[in-house]
């Protein structure tokens, strides 16, 4: 896969107001804005993250828990009661700020989840979908070697993508479940599907028109992208093969709204 480095993704300066981020999002045809974050080894909660990265394969939807409550739950359970109390509070503060930004961008309540497992289905170009009118998703993967790749919707042959996903979507869902439950290698689980596996490794799928029209979010940065709704197109994206063995600690915040 050739990553387009000539034209970087639009970046929002740290601490930018929601209105400014919204403007950037509206201006970009790709439907994504990068939010630079400090490198992992400079984060004050790097030891907490490192400890969580040593516990691969978990996922938690916060639901009604605050970030402080949710991280306390995770840390207590996985790392021992009271572990990293100060660090997890700082990370919770950062997640709270990002959730607030995401919520302000759509006018909806943000839903937060964290996970340390890799879903191989993310290796196939796709859009995230919800049923509400407006939706955005913030993704902050910490400790992943590669950033999320995006491509313009026009770079995807839509009928071919539809046909591909009609066949592959349930198979990818099953693969995700098996990887989450067993931790088995994707290569082993799909050894009987070499063509589909090769596409996931390279990113070069039959429905991709031009492999040069791909942008990559800076590894370690957060990004906000459009989610497909009945009222708006979503941002076409995929993960990189290199992430499958180092999925990192992923923070996913989705905000939706039905307001006109």
């Amino acid at each position: 896969m050739i990553t387009n480095l000539a034209a970087p993704l639009p970046q929002s300066p740290p601490g930018a107001a929601a209105e400014a981020v919204r403007r950037l999002l509206d201006e970009t045809a790709l439907g994504i804005v990068e939010l630079p974050r400090p490198p992992l080894d400079t984060l004050p909660y790097r030891d907490f993250i490192a400890a969580l990265l040593g516990k691969p394969g978990f996922k938690l939807d916060f639901n009604r828990l605050t970030p402080h409550q949710a991280l306390a739950l995770v840390a207590d359970k996985l790392l021992g009661p009271g572990a990293f109390a100060a660090e997890r509070a700082m990370l919770a503060d950062d997640i709270t700020a990002l959730a607030q930004l995401t919520g302000e961008l759509t006018g909806g309540r943000p839903a937060i989840s964290i996970r340390t497992y890799f879903a191989p289905g993310d290796l196939v170009w796709h859009v995230d979908r919800v049923n509400e009118r407006a939706a955005l998703r913030l993704l902050w993967p910490i400790g992943r070697p590669a950033g999320m790749c995006v491509t313009p919707t026009a770079n995807i042959d839509a009928p071919l993508h539809r046909a591909y996903m009609r066949r592959e979507h349930p198979l990818l869902g099953r693969l995700d479940t098996r990887v989450m439950r067993t931790g088995a290698a994707v290569e082993a689980l799909w050894a009987h599907r070499p063509e589909q596996l090769a596409a996931m490794v390279s990113g070069d799928f039959p429905f991709l028109r031009d492999p040069a029209q791909i942008w990559e979010v800076t590894p370690g940065a957060a990004s906000i992208h459009r989610v497909e709704t009945p009222a708006q197109p979503g941002t076409m994206h995929r993960s990189s093969w290199t992430n499958r063995t180092s999925p990192g600690f992923q923070i996913v915040i989705t905000a939706t709204s039905d307001a006109p």
Partner: protein, 314 residues
């Protein structure tokens, strides 16, 4: 005559082969020829016919043919309700009350009974099944009432192709009588857990696409499909090439293409949980050829074992 089997908890007995009608819906297919295909199937002992309820043209034709054959009491229509929301993929984001509202299910069922001229449908099925729907909406309550009123014999769900895991909770719940799913040499994954689960719970199974939309019977690599054949989009060039290469490998092992086709059909009927194999047929000759193949019965264990090497859509 083809064997008949008990159909889950419906109380019906259906033929081991079901006539799939999507192939008969093509506007280019001669109506009289399609009618002859249906009539031949009924004459040969096929007593179950699968129907997409939105396919009014085929429903009309079925109604005429059933009346002409005086077969209203011996043919069971296994209908699929039309979703109120078009699906590109199964979507838990679309709640059951939006996709299949009870009022819509009742209206469509009753309209279909009138069109077909029958008193009862063999089945009414919810297609593109999402596990979340089991506890949503009023679809189940409506179908139960229709069953009590004698307007349908059974309640079924129909799974999206390859989406085998979606059915487990519904099967175990006792809420449904049948499951329709894709089951063939390329995708035998239902045999691992779902088919045994259906056996344990007395749920009937309709195995569809035993030839993977005809591909396991391709005599040569198709260069294209008719403009109104949905398979033209589905089998995009890379998919077509890979499918053909894999079908050729099976044919090579089987000895020839015709034996491979027969093997594929018999494979679908070999699992004891499978009640009936739903197969699209476009001519009386295809009906006869397919039934002749199925009459050879289930494959031997060694044959089934050797076919595991051909699984790739799982």
């Amino acid at each position: 005559m083809i064997a008949h089997r008990p159909f889950g908890r419906t109380g019906l007995s259906v033929s081991a082969c079901t006539l799939g009608t999507s192939a008969l819906a093509a506007p280019t297919l001669d109506r009289r020829a399609a009618g002859r295909t249906i009539a031949r199937a009924i004459d040969c002992g096929i007593n179950s016919i699968e129907l997409d309820a939105r396919d009014g043209r085929t429903a009309d034709l079925l109604g005429e043919t059933i009346a002409r054959q005086n077969a209203g009491n011996r043919v069971h229509i296994l209908a699929r309700v039309t979703a109120r929301v078009p699906f590109e993929l199964p979507s838990p984001h679309v709640p059951a009350y939006q996709a299949y509202p009870g009022r819509h299910i009742r209206a469509e069922t009753e309209a279909l009974l009138r069109t077909l001229g029958v008193e009862r449908l063999g089945l009414q099925q919810i297609h593109a099944w999402c596990p979340e729907w089991l506890h949503e909406g009023d679809w189940l309550e409506t179908l139960r009432r229709l069953r009590e009123e004698g307007k349908i014999a059974g309640i079924g769900i129909s799974l999206w192709d390859h989406d085998i895991d979606a059915a487990a909770e519904a099967v175990a719940s006792g809420a449904i009588d049948t499951v329709q799913l894709m089951y063939n040499v390329f995708d035998p994954s239902a045999a691992t857990a779902l088919l045994p689960l259906c056996q344990r719970h007395g749920v009937g199974v309709i195995a569809r696409a035993p030839l993977y939309f005809g591909a396991l019977g391709w005599a040569g690599q198709p260069t294209g499909f008719a403009s109104n054949d949905w398979r033209g989009a589905y089998f995009y060039p890379a998919h077509r090439q890979e499918t053909y290469a894999r079908a050729q490998r099976l044919a090579h092992e089987a000895g020839d293409g015709s034996t491979a086709r027969e093997t594929a059909l018999r494979f679908a009927l070999s699992h004891p949980a499978v009640t009936t194999v739903a197969l699209g047929m476009r001519s009386p000759e295809q009906v006869e050829a397919n039934l002749a193949a199925l009459e050879h019965g289930p494959l031997l264990a060694a044959q089934l074992q050797s076919l595991t090497a051909h699984a790739w859509l799982c």
